[in-house]
Amino acid sequence: MAAAAATAATKGNGGGGARAGAGEASGSRKKKGPGPLATAYLVIYNVVMTAGWLVIAVGLVRAYLAKGSYHSLYYSIEKPLKFFQTGALLEILHCAVGIVPSSVVLTSFQVMSRVFLIWAVTHSVKEVQSEDSVLLFVIAWTITEIIRYSFYTFSLLNHLPYLIKWARYTLFIVLYPMGVSGELLTIYAALPFVRQSGLYSISLPNKYNFSFDYYAFLILIMISYIPIFPQLYFHMIHQRRKVLSHTEEHKKFE
């Protein structure tokens, strides 16, 4: 879902052109856009993020070639993954400040769900770091983010190659389910260790009369994928039809 949400709802890091914004009004819209300074900053931001995720991609490939297997590749890219995924928190700021026309709530939701998986699940429960499901979502996220950030970069520069647009609105068909599977399997793998260690859990009695069961919380998170993922997925499918057919028509008139 973190994978799905990131592609589906983010309208852009200042990107022009077709958007997949879940909260956006279609039709006429006053686009005042970010100023020149903001645009320069956003271009730099998106270029840096594209580069960061490329580093992760290259890191994965090199680790695979060096090890000869695809198991436990997480450790080779752990640091850049944490750095660049956490850096995406800036995108919430971009929306809040207004240089990106996306909803703060939606963007927060997406980024927080990614950050949650990285820190509160994978980092916190060391035993799952060697699971193959981690590789599944890392690959899905890496490909998605490389395409997404380059999409925004090119849009900001008003030169969006059709290939990037096509990739952004097509590859999700496979990458979403792949990412979601990886995420769910990872959370599921973490469950017994959370139960056993009482991670992030408080029980009664205590001074503030409060309790929290992280195990139950993780199960609730998994359940929440059921209503949320299909909505995001079909929204993207709908956007794809709109965006890609619109381009086709444009081409006809050239």
Binding site: L204, P205, N206, K207, Y208, N209, F210, S211
Partner: protein, 320 residues
């Protein structure tokens, strides 16, 4: 279609034509002829319901412009900027439910639910605790306070409040009840738990907190009464509220919505009394929502009344 000629036929200004179009599709939905120029929007809504009974007046939004603001029920046809043939645009507001119904449901829930936990009804705590009673005085006190609070709210809904809107969208009842009932259950679970820990500073803390709670409940009630007296029965007039002889209303000197100020105060009192984190979180969420409402109310007071007292803040004196 016209049976016979009446005098009005010869005086075209005496009866107007109203056509109602769908705001989204511009489809012609209804054509009302022989409408009195002094007719109100409410009357036009009633006429529209006759041809489209599924759209009762409460769910109709009629406006002069498809994207414009809704016309009010009291607006009179001839006072609107239209010719003798008026074109109104219709938008369906969706199923509606009366405010009174929503309030009664959302308040009756917490009252009842809290008691389920207080009496330790089976299947909540372990079976050995079924129908047992807490040994802590504060737990019994908390039940009295919580129940009093919601009984007060129910009685105010029935006898005190004067609502300016009759209805709200139906989906609100699900949203609101989830909020009230959910939080009530969550708080009640901990306060009435067999492993509940009483406040750190004991009876002193409880007494202080109880005093805060009672004062704020009285304050909140005083404000509700003052607001009710501001508006005659059946009317929808709006006036600036001012302090009355009741000292609790003197908070009007400093805030626009002292009812919300007192409400937050009550819950802070309850949180201190029970020393229960979920109560504090409930207070925080409530405070956030009430601040949004207070700011909105404050803004509309400022817009409507040129002479609005400048010292007043929306909800917290001098600060917010």
């Amino acid at each position: 279609m016209h049976e016979g000629r009446s005098v009005r036929q010869w005086l075209p200004e005496a009866s107007w034509l109203v056509e109602i179009l769908d705001a989204k599709t511009r489809e012609k939905l209804c054509f009302l002829d022989k409408v009195e120029p002094q007719a109100t929007i409410a009357e036009i809504k009633n006429l529209f319901t006759k041809s489209h009974p599924q759209w009762y007046p409460a769910r109709q939004s009629l406006r002069l412009d498809p994207k414009g603001k809704s016309l009010k029920d009291e607006d009179v046809l001839q006072k609107l900027p239209v010719g003798t043939t008026a074109t109104l645009y219709f938008r369906d507001l969706g199923a509606q439910i009366s405010w009174v119904t929503v309030f009664l449901t959302e308040y009756a829930g917490p009252l009842f639910i809290y008691l389920l936990f207080y009496f330790r009804v089976p299947f909540i705590y372990g079976h050995k605790y079924d129908f047992t009673s807490s040994r802590h005085t504060v737990v019994h006190l908390a039940c009295i306070c919580h129940s009093f609070h919601y009984i007060k709210r129910l009685l105010e809904t029935l006898f005190v409040h004067r609502f300016s809107h009759g209805t709200m969208p139906l989906r609100n009842i699900f949203k609101n009840c989830t909020y009230y009932w959910g939080f009530a259950a969550w708080m009640a679970y901990y306060i009435n738990h067999p492993l509940y820990t009483p406040p750190t500073y004991g009876a002193q803390q409880v007494k202080l907190a109880l005093a805060i709670f009672v004062i704020c409940q009285l304050g909140n009630f005083s404000i509700h009464m003052a607001l009710r007296d501001l508006r005659p029965a059946g009317s929808k007039t709006r006036k600036i509220p001012y302090p009355t002889k009741n000292p609790f209303t003197w908070l009007f000197l400093l805030v626009s919505c002292p009812n919300y100020t007192y409400e937050v105060g009550s819950w802070i009192g309850f949180a201190i009394m029970t020393q229960c984190l979920p109560v504090a979180l409930f207070s925080l969420v409530g405070f956030t929502q009430m601040t949004i409402w207070a700011k909105g109310k404050h803004r509309s007071y400022l817009k409507e009344f040129r002479d609005y007292p400048p010292l007043r803040m929306p909800i917290i004196p001098f600060l917010l």
